[in-house]
């Protein structure tokens, strides 16, 4: 099978999922308003902390503003608790058998499906939030990137972060082959990982010991990296390190996912009916 032909079916999976996700426009509109309010409230809280003690604040107000608005705008791209219910259902009720008889790679199908759902959601939501955030007065709005290079790296690491997030979610799906009940793994993913990847409080705010540990985990290579590259909070050697770690984690998680999946599929029992 040539590379070109080999990719085409996955592209159509991507397209179908993407178009499907684009259908929910009203929901997106309501979502945007909600997310905007959340971003604003978060920012007001940070402002109060900044006023309390500017010297203890690990970022500038501009940087935290960018971080908060990106966090809201790209929420659906990076949220770890957003998992595909269809996949869990397929594993549980045996629908996975239909996917297995296709002459395609299951890991890849699920991977592109997840990429597409997230991409569709974010396409609907991010622009309005970003536009409004741009026109907000300094320092509460979205500023321009610190340099053209930073912007380019922001885009690249953002894409890589998305791949990493999906690779991580794949591990959750595959674990369900073993546990059958997705609830347990999901709960850990939904609660603690959100905290670790800096969705609740940006990683620079964390106490030093904890921060150093988190920075080595895959969680720091998710939204944390691109958002802070954009505003110049991560630059120089730290930036190079960050990208190397990001690439390492992508390779590691995909490899692990594939191995786990091969093992799981060898012992998978599809209950009839």
């Amino acid at each position: 099978m040539t590379a070109g032909r080999g990719l085409r079916p996955y592209l159509s999976f991507f397209r179908i999922r993407f178009l499907c996700g684009m259908q929910y426009r009203t929901a997106a509109l309501a979502g945007i308003a909600t997310q905007f309010a959340w971003g604003a409230m978060n920012l007001l809280a940070y402002r109060a902390f900044y006023a309390a003690d500017p010297s203890a604040f690990p970022m500038t107000l501009e940087q935290i503003s960018c971080y908060v608005w990106f966090n809201q705008a790209f929420l659906t791209l990076f949220m770890l608790w957003f998992l595909d219910a269809d996949i869990f259902a397929a594993i549980r009720d045996g629908g996975v058998a239909y996917e297995l008889i296709r002459p395609l790679d299951l890991y890849r199908i699920w991977f592109v499906k997840n990429l597409a759902t997230r991409a569709a959601k974010v396409t609907l939501r991010c622009l309005p939030i970003l536009v409004v955030a741009c026109v907000l007065p300094k320092p509460y709005g979205l500023t321009l990137p610190v340099s053209a290079a930073a912007f380019l790296l922001f885009l690249v690491t953002m894409l890589l972060a998305l791949v990493l997030v999906v690779a991580f979610c794949m591990l959750i799906y595959i674990t369900t082959f073993y546990t059958m009940n997705p609830l347990g793994v999901r709960i850990v993913a939904t609660s603690m990982c959100e905290f670790l990847c800096g969705a609740i409080v940006p990683i620079p705010f964390m106490p030093d010991g904890l921060r150093r540990v988190i920075e080595l985990t895959p969680f720091a290579a998710m939204q944390n990296l691109p958002f802070r590259i954009y505003s110049g909070d991560i630059a120089g050697t730290e930036l190079v390190q960050g990208i190397v770690l990001q690439l390492f984690w992508i390779a590691a998680l995909i490899l692990l996912g594939r191995l786990m999946m091969r093992h799981a599929l060898r012992r998978v029992v599809v209950q009839g009916g």
């Binding site: 309501a30 109060a48 006023a51 309390a52 009940n181 609830l183 609660s191 409080v201 106490p207």
Partner: protein, 258 residues
């Protein structure tokens, strides 16, 4: 009331049939709330105070809003599934029964797994109450209980409003989450943190501050005003427009026909 208790025990028994699922959901609720608390902790490893409020004081504030919310969510979240009730015609069945629709919607769903959040609130209270420096005399205890109860009913009012809107839209409005889930998340800091404008809005329009902020000042001894202490009672007035909105919506209700 007797009927509600019947529903209560039925829901309890049915949810206890799936014990693993129940306890995992409970754990999930607990951990999600816990990560919010971790967020507060992280901020206070750097900052000694925000807007003049210390870590223990903020924790106390968080415990109040969390407890009020989880109580409301356990007993009044029947309204949360209301769009589905309208959508699948179940509400039509409710209307033909000889009991108040509000009662039936409430009794249709009691989520005990939400008590995971309540557990979190209890633990934070246990931690913060002795450390807060508040003199726990009868008046202050009564204020605290008043805050929690009033908060429960304000959140219930918001849920009712949400359901009332469904009569027109036939689907849930995510926007309402700003005040329900958002109230829970942002209520973790005393509301003055968010600035004058937000505080005023949350006083006069959606009265979260009436049970969360002003009596809190009285509790900490920062306000001598009796008015601040009895604010939670005024917050209950919020139920009135919510109920009216529900009544008007109900009169306009046309079945979806399914």
């Amino acid at each position: 009331m007797k009927l509600y208790l019947r529903y209560f025990s039925i829901h309890f028994k049915s949810q206890m049939q799936y014990k693993t699922s129940f306890f995992l959901t409970l754990l999930g609720q607990f951990l999600t709330a816990f990560s919010t608390f971790l967020g507060i902790w992280v901020m206070f490893t750097r900052f000694r105070a925000v807007d003049g409020f210390t870590y223990t004081e903020v924790s106390l504030c968080y415990a109040v809003v969390l407890m009020a919310f989880s109580l409301a969510e356990t007993f009044f979240r029947g309204f949360d599934t209301f769009p589905r009730m309208i959508g699948n015609g179940e509400f039509d069945r409710i209307l033909v029964r000889p009991r108040s629709p509000i009662f039936q919607v409430l009794a249709a769903k009691i989520e005990f797994s939400r008590l995971g959040r309540l557990l979190q609130a209890v633990l934070v209270f246990a931690w913060a109450i002795p450390r807060s420096g508040v003199d726990w005399n009868a008046a202050n205890l009564a204020t605290l209980v008043g805050m929690i109860l009033s908060g429960t009913f304000v959140f219930a009012g918001l849920f009712l409003l949400y359901a009332g809107i469904c009569f027109y839209t036939l689907e849930g409005l995510e926007v309402m989450n700003i005040f329900t889930d958002g109230g829970r998340e942002f209520g973790r800091y005393p509301l003055s943190v968010y600035g004058e404008g937000v505080l005023r809005f949350l006083t006069y329009i959606v009265p979260l501050a009436l049970f969360l902020y002003y009596p809190f000042l009285a509790l900490l001894g920062r306000s001598e005003s009796l008015l601040h202490r009895i604010c939670p009672a005024f917050a209950l007035l919020f139920l009135l427009p919510c109920y009216l909105f529900w009544r008007i919506g109900l009169r306009h209700y046309q079945s979806t026909g399914s």
